[in-house]
Every structure is written in C-alpha cells, then in structure tokens.
Symmetry: C2
Subunit: 211 residues, 2 copies
DNA sequence: CTCTCTCATGAGAGTTACTCTCATTTCATG
DNA sequence: CATGAAATGAGAGTAACTCTCATGAGAGAG
C-alpha cells in the first residue's frame, strides 16, 4: 500500500507507452470491434455481451471491466479529450461559438475520414436503440460540463450559473439533434452543415415565424 | 356513492368511466404510491420491483403490465396531456414562448400545490439516479415532438425541420436543466423563476460575456 | 339472472445485463 | 530470479425484464 504509487516512474512521463498498456489498449479495441461487427450483422439487441466477449477472446468479466455497460462499448470514444483540448487551445479572441463550430467540423471530418462505417453505425444506433441514445446523452452531459468550464473561462461567466448551464446544454442537445436528423435522413446531408445550422438556432433563435 | 345506483348511468357521459377502468386507475395509483413510499425510505436502487408489487398487493407481472420499466413508475405522469392541451388552447396571438411560460408556471403551481413531496422527490431522483434521469429525458423528448407540432402550427414553420426540432429540444433541455438546478440547490429557489430564466436563455442567448 | 366472451391477473420459467469474490496468470522491478 | 502488483478468468448471485399459459372477474346478450 505504502509509497508504491508514487514510486519513480512519474516525474514527467508523458510518453510512457508501457508494454502492459499496449495490451490493454489492444483488448479495448478488440472488444469494440467485436461488438461493432456482431451488431452490424445481428442488430444491437440480439447481440449479447457473452458473444462479444467470445469474439474478442476475453471473458465476459473482462468486458465489464473495460466498459461499465454494454452501451458504453458503442458510445465511448477516445476523441472527446483531444477535441476539448483543441477547443481550449483556440485563439482567445475568437468568439467561442466559432471555436465550437471549428472543433465540431474537425471532429466530423476526422470521424468520417478515419472510420466512416463506424461513425454511421453509431449514429444509426443512437437513433434506433433507446438505451444507446440515453447513454450518449448522459456522456454528452459530461462533456457539456467540461465545455461549460471552457466557455466560462473565455467569457468570464460563472460556469455553475443556471444561464451558462442551460446554454451549453442546449448547444449539446442541438448537436445531438443534428446527429439524429442526419441518421434519420440516411446520412445524405452534410453533417457539418447540419451542425452549423443547429448552432445557428442556438445562437440566434429559430427562423422567424408568424407568431 | 348513493347516486351511482340511480336509473340511467349518465345523462350525457361523453367519457365512459366504466367500472372496470376504475380498478385499473386504482391499481396504477397503488403501484405508484407504493413505489414512492418504499423509495423514500430505502432509496431507489435498494427498492426492488418485487417489493413494490408486494406493497401494492399485485403480482410483479402486473407491475410490468402497467409500467414498462421500473423508472417509468417514478417518471410517468398524467399531467402532460392536459398541459399540452392547455398550451394548444392559448390565444393564437400570444407569442408562443409566452404560452410555454404560462403553461410551465401552471404546471409548477399545480404540482407543488397538490403533491409537493412527490414533486420534490421526483426532482431529487432525477438528479441522483442516472436511469431515472435518462428515462425522463426520453419521455420529455416525446413531449418535445408534440410541442414541435404545436409550435409549428402557431408559427407556420415545418415541425420536421431541423431548426424547429433543435429549438424545441433546447427548450425542453433547458427546462430539465432548470429542474436539476432546482434539486441541486435543495429546492430553495422558486422553480417557476428558474424555468423563466432558462427560457430567457433559449430565447435571447446567455447574458453577454467578454468574448 | 345466467351464459358467454373478453380482458386483466397470477404464476412460473427463462434470458441477460451486471456485481462480487477468489484463485490464477501475467507483467514490472529490484 | 524473486517478489509484488495488476489483469484476467471462473463462477455464483441478483434483479430487471419477457413470454406463455391457466384462472378469475367484469361486461354484454339472451
């Protein structure tokens, strides 16, 4: 128990791959891709965690060690952190909604270039499987809180105020709605444009109607 | 009780109470209040559906017949429909956000007057139990769609357009955020005011900051 | 009032996501 | 190589659902 944790290997150590870590990352990926493959051909509900485990050549226990819920296998992503970092790194003078726009476009471009199938499947699952959608909303709420910090830092507002919370959450919700819309329409429209339109609504309100 | 025996069951009676329906309603309420009572004293997670069934004097099967999920017992409400009707019945000239404000205030007043304990407990559960929160979001999404219809009818916009969807959903999300804020702060602030502030943010954007 | 016919209920078995515990194996380190 | 820590596997256990089938209680027709 004692000082073990604080031992030598942590003066700086940003690049410490660690031979053990490799295996963990590989296992993680194995589980994920096993899940995606099975879900693609059988559907989400008919795919059991046991099947995923078998295909990934690990035990069911291990699957739950890596992902707290079945939905997380599909919902989780390693992209959130770098993107939020990128957001924080944007020029301070830039209006923060523009920063968000920029980062969103980057994210979309990245996802669609590197893993187009997976990206579309995820959007479809979000649309069709309530549990996945729910989980996605929940994790997005988390990134929303982080986003609030960033925004508050930029604007000088209190990140804990109701106003900032509501605004950030409506932004998040709007982007999710854009994603659902995208999937609903068979991914035919440009996702980045949809996201832009969603942000517009949040910023300037909806296009004027009669009343 | 007396008049029940009277000659004709009902003079006009557009709604047909039906002696059988009564029992269903009573069962429904029995399950709900059993759930609330048990949850209040044991917490949500430690309360099983079996316990709820026992206390409501029905079988577990019946509980699931009435409520598709455990969360629904706590999340569901009979108030949504009348409130949406009331919204639709508002004067056509009134700006629709004002209509929403009005209806929200009514809903809050009603809930806090008639079932203050339950209302607070629900808000607390939404805050503390992820599953309940998730389910609430899901059902709110449903009422959001209905709301979109109403709004679209008022404004002449297309209820299926991305813009209307995003705007309505951000409104819903904002109100939910207000509810969470309310619960987080021990229900100390006036909920109707919080809702108003949330709607303000959606309508006019957040208070101006530096950037 | 009685005979159906329908529909709500109860009972029970089955599935599956998840939790916990403990023994074993695998890697890191001195 | 030896020792300690961390990852894995195995297995038992829980609880939320799902399905099916038999029974009982209401509604309506005669």
């Amino acid at each position: 128990m004692a000082a073990v944790t604080g031992a030598s290997p942590a003066p700086d150590a940003p690049p410490r791959p660690g031979l053990r870590e490799r295996k963990k990352i590989r296992t993680r990926e194995a589980i994920r891709s096993a899940a995606y493959a099975l879900i693609e051909q059988q559907g989400y509900d008919s795919t059991t965690v046991e099947q995923i485990a078998e295909r990934a050549e690990v035990s069911p226990s291990t699957v739950f060690r890596y992902f707290p819920t079945k939905e997380d296998i599909v919902v989780t992503d390693e992209y959130d952190e770098p993107l939020l970092a990128e957001l924080a790194a944007r020029p301070a003078g830039e209006p923060w909604t523009d920063s968000v726009r920029y980062v969103i476009r980057e994210a979309v471009r990245l996802a669609l270039t590197e893993r187009p199938e997976t990206t579309r499947l995820r959007a479809r699952l979000m649309l069709e499987v309530p549990a996945v959608r729910a989980r996605m909303r929940e994790t997005l709420t988390g990134t929303g809180r982080t986003l609030a910090e960033t925004v508050a830092g930029r604007t000088g507002l209190d990140p804990r105020s109701l106003e900032v919370r509501v605004h950030v959450m409506s932004l998040i919700g709007g982007l999710l709605e854009a994603t659902l819309y995208w999937a609903e329409h068979g991914h035919r429209e440009d996702y980045a444009d949809l996201a832009d339109r969603a942000i517009d609504v949040i910023e300037h309100g909806p296009p004027a109607g009669k009343s």
